[in-house]
Amino acid sequence: MIVFPGSNCDTDCWHVLRDVLNIQVDFVWHKETNVGGVDLVVLPGGFSYGDYLRTGAIARFSPVMQAVQEHARQGRAVIGICNGFQVLLETGLLPGAMLRNRSLRFVCKHIYVKTENVTSLFTNRLKHGEILKIPIAHGEGNYFCDEQTLETLEQNNRIAFRYCSEQGTLGDEFNPNGSLAHIAGILNERGNILGMMPHPERSSESMLGSGDGRKIWESILSAANV
């Protein structure tokens, strides 16, 4: 669990992984230069470096990001949630960039996403088209990339989740931030990095209104065979 100055979902993620899924989790301060031989690196949500300049733009130069890139290069899993997704985009580990939400408002609510990819190590416990109820909380989640990149993402099944209605319909009225092609989460080419704006750690226990996010953690666990 990487912690940047300004991360604020790190403890929630840590709680879910440790107390709900019973796996060992360690915090790694952004000044560290090593992440060890872990199966999964989590880049949690928050406001790293106060979102100065652009979201994730400064965190990308934290010493630990060299180690995260090396970890990813070895084919190990990395999940970036919300600000973590923004950091992955700025680092270039995932293509594209984030714009301000179309409404210019910070949006904090439960939304629905449709599962598009069911083969990745993050989604293997999900069914194609499965609808997940997961909260979002961001001001800059309006995903953008050029046409060629979008085509590559579509053709290679790298769009993991799209915003949708409760019934799974796609449409601008169900897209909370104006994101291109209703994208809520994407994978890298190799499939070992997932960036997503919704917060699975806030929807991993039914007492919090939805347990759907747990399936993402369980997919990772099943892929890591732990």
């Binding site: 652009r54 714009l99 301000r100 210019l104 953008f144």
Partner: protein, 83 residues
Amino acid sequence: MFKAKIDVTLKKSVLDPQGQTVLQALHSLGYGTVDALRVGKHFEMTLQSEDRKRAESEIKLMCERLLVNPVIEQYTVELEELR
């Protein structure tokens, strides 16, 4: 010594919701002559570079590495020698 002014704006192909909102606000104030508006960022810096060429190449690198996200943004530089 040099002084650089760098303007960063969203590319033409990228929607600028902030600019749209400001444009609408100006229209509602009665400034109907404004027909397009983009909101951007402005940086000003002084550099201890030896010559103009070096200052230009340093600024280019700074923009590419940190100040500008080339996926969504474009920039212009105005460089002035300080005496």
